[in-house]
């Protein structure tokens, strides 16, 4: 038997299906497999008999849907599918020949059986031989990645045990450490908002607060050479913010190092928070990655930027003529999402329900659905199919092969139109949940949906075990494209704080939910819960115990 797929709910088979399998085993399934016809894009149907038009064995009608009896191979229309078990004892299990779905004529319901789904998927594997080979190699890589993921989680959990300094210069002990305003040095709110997020990203924060060995060596070298080191300045910010001093901190040394490192960004103009975030992680990788990895590839990089934010996107391009699929993988430190301005009527039923209920509201799940939707490539992008040996129409579909520890989602609000030669900002409200399940957007889920959600474990891409995420920070933007302001919200022990440059204020959940999000940051739920537990057990001075808020569970 196949191992049970954790994301499925295996419903109990009805007694008729159980009796059928007990008496006939897999003979019926194998016989059906020979009759299956697979389309290149994943749909399955049962081949018609010699006569072109199937007819009901009882009423000789040729309208509506037809069902094939798994025992006597007779065709029945829907009405006589219900009568057939009454005249023939035990002939209860049918197959919808249009969709290849099991159907019980007595229970009058569709049935789901993992063994039947495996038979159907095996037919698909026969059809595309190249894909099967690809899956095997992917499986080998999967084992390696699972070890990497486990290692990262274990490593970061250990680091979480390091204690934060309890020094409190001002005696304002009713708020947790890590909350400190950052002075605006002149249109640097883009920098302050991203720095506040990084200061509260659990794995990232724990790394810097525990103090890496490399930083000491780098500090020594810096003292002699008078060089600017970005990592040391990031470390200085962490030390200052978590020191307990509550007066606003000026990240001037960091800005100086940053502008030396990124000459193209050394500019007084207002800049994009997302661009700063991406460049910052690139800089950290550049500084730390070389010393740790010996110039390995991105996938196995051990720098803190990649350990925390690294994810892997999968891109499938499928030939619409023969079904051959070409798969590529791209590393990413965040995911940029287009706003789902139009909910397509071709979406599934539940989306239609949402559409009626919420009017024209954009949701994060809608954006992710849009990101992972199959997209037909234009005529100028025709795929050269290795199987057909010519250019064919093709479908492209994105999915997430590996999720990072901290998931950063970027909403594309700044739109540039090449036709109109102008830029504008999209002020549309976007709903984002505080708890996010990324399972539907994993490669395994996308592949499953492509083949009709069969209960089948794909050889290569098994479900990621850590796909539950909890929000911990939001970067919002207000104003226009030319002149705006970034503000970040951070969640510390389930309390939300607004970080508006030097001003740190308490806000309620409603304010965060109603904000105009530009970047949304989620951390894997295991790390989030762990971080909350550790913070609540930080050693405190006696005077602080009275004011320490109780940390709630997510």
């Amino acid at each position: 038997m196949l191992p049970r797929n954790p994301s499925y709910t295996n419903p109990e088979p009805c007694q008729h299906l159980a009796e059928y399998k007990l008496k006939h085993g897999f003979n019926g399934y194998k016989a059906i497999q020979k009759l299956l016809v697979t389309s290149p894009i994943g749909k399955t149907s049962v081949k018609k008999p010699n006569t072109k038009v199937p007819r009901c064995g009882f009423c000789n009608g040729c309208e509506g849907r037809f069902y094939l009896c798994l025992i006597c191979s007779s065709f029945s229309c829907l009405d006589h599918t219900l009568l057939h078990p009454q005249s023939e004892s035990g002939h209860a299990v049918f197959v919808d020949i249009e969709r290849t779905e099991l159907y019980c004529g007595v229970c009058r319901d569709q049935l789901y059986d993992p063994d039947f789904d495996q038979v159907v998927m095996s037919k698909h594997s026969m059809g595309v031989a190249g894909g099967a080979t690809g899956n095997e190699s992917i499986g080998q890589r999967l084992i390696k990645r699972r070890r990497l993921v486990s290692g990262i989680v274990g490593l970061d959990l250990q680091k979480s045990k390091c204690r934060v300094s309890t020094k409190d210069l001002r005696g304002k002990s009713c708020y947790p450490l890590g909350l400190r305003g950052l002075n605006n040095l002149g249109s640097t709110c883009y920098m302050n908002s991203v720095l506040q997020v990084l200061l509260h990203a659990p794995p990232f924060r724990d790394y810097f607060l525990s103090g890496g060995q490399r930083l000491e060596a780098c500090h020594h070298r810096r003292a002699t050479d008078l060089m600017c080191c970005l990592l040391c300045d990031v470390n200085a910010i962490f030390s200052a913010v978590y020191s307990g001093d509550r007066s606003p901190y000026s990240p001037a040394q960091f800005l100086y190092s940053w502008w030396q490192h990124s000459a193209n960004l050394a500019c007084y103009e207002q800049q994009d928070a997302h661009e700063f975030f991406i460049s910052m992680l690139d800089a950290i990788h550049e500084k730390e990655g070389k010393t740790r990895n010996g110039s390995k590839g991105n996938g196995d990089c051990q720098c803190i930027a990649h350990k925390v934010f690294y994810g892997l996107l999968r891109s499938d391009v499928t030939c619409m003529a023969c079904g051959f699929t070409s798969t590529t993988y791209d590393p990413c430190v965040d995911i940029s999402l287009n706003l789902d301005t139009d909910v397509s009527s071709t979406e599934k039923g539940k989306k239609l329900t949402k559409q009626n209920e919420d009017g024209s509201m954009s949701t994060l799940s809608g954006c992710l659905d849009l990101f992972t939707r199959p997209e037909k490539l234009g005529s100028d992008q025709k795929l050269y199919c290795q199987n057909c040996r010519e250019r064919q129409d093709s479908l492209k579909q994105m999915s997430i092969r590996k999720l990072p520890l901290v998931l950063s989602l970027h909403v594309k609000r700044f739109e540039h139109s090449f036709v109109k030669k102008c830029s504008r900002k999209i002020d549309r409200y976007l709903h984002f949940p505080f708890s996010l399940d990324m399972t539907p957007y994993l490669s395994s889920s996308i592949l499953r949906a492509r083949y009709g959600n069969r209960n089948f474990t794909f050889g290569g891409d098994q479900s990621d075990m850590f796909s539950e995420f909890e929000i911990f920070a939001v970067v919002t933007h207000s104003g226009t494209l030319e002149s705006g302001h970034y503000v970040s919200f951070v969640r510390v022990r389930n309390q939300w704080y607004r970080c508006n440059d030097a001003w740190i204020t308490v806000v309620d959940e409603a304010t965060v939910r109603a904000s105009q999000c530009y970047m949304i940051f989620y951390v894997q739920k295991t790390l989030h819960n762990k971080a909350n537990e550790d913070l609540s057990h930080v050693p405190n001075s006696p005077g602080r115990d009275l004011f320490l808020p109780i940390a709630g569970c997510c």
Binding site: P248, W259, N453, D508, T511
Partner: protein
């Protein structure tokens, strides 16, 4: 003969309508079958949570849009969570790492931009200097070998000439004499 034609038209219309309904039923059954599978196998287990989150968002937007329910006094702060207040421009004083001068925090970025010779304003300054140099060179060309002082004299001389309206030799001598004194 018109009667059979009418029957044919009616028959064709009914037939196409029948086929259309068949196709529509087929599509509806496909969607229903997909939704049934998703529901039975628990692939939409987060739908209720999503709906609850959507309700929370709707309530949040209503509350924030309601001015009487605003948590912040017109969006302006009085004090932060530490009881501190902050000026519109940060007034902490520190030394610039590049040139060592004392700078106010809120003006550090524009200062550093010029100090490091980077960014927008630095380029503008360079451009202005180039323009000035070019102007000086072009004005100097009518009088080769002239120094700064003769340039000034020349300009004044020209003005005097214009004022007088004459170009006699005696006038020129008079102008020169005036300048010399």
């Amino acid at each position: 003969m018109s009667v059979p034609n009418e029957e044919n038209l009616s028959s064709h219309s009914q037939l196409s309508s029948h086929f259309f309904l068949d196709l529509l039923d087929s599509i509806i059954v496909d969607v229903a079958s997909e939704c049934h599978r998703v529901a039975r196998l628990g692939l939409d287990s987060n739908l209720e949570e999503e709906d609850e989150e959507l309700k929370l968002s709707a309530q949040a937007r209503v509350r924030v849009a309601d001015p009487s329910n605003s948590n912040e006094a017109n969006g302006k702060y009085v004090v932060d969570i530490f009881g501190q207040t902050h000026p519109p421009v940060a007034n902490e004083i520190f030394d610039c790492m590049n040139c060592g001068r004392s700078i106010m925090a809120g003006r550090f970025a524009p200062h550093l931009e010029k100090c490091m010779g980077k960014g927008r304003k630095a380029r503008l300054k360079v451009t202005r200097s180039s323009t000035a140099a070019q102007n000086r060179y072009s004005r100097g060309s009518p009088s080769p070998g002239s120094t700064y002082s003769p340039y000034s004299n020349y300009s004044t001389n020209s003005m005097n000439r214009l004022a007088n309206g004459t170009s006699t030799f005696a006038g020129e001598e008079h102008s020169n004499g005036t300048l010399e004194s």
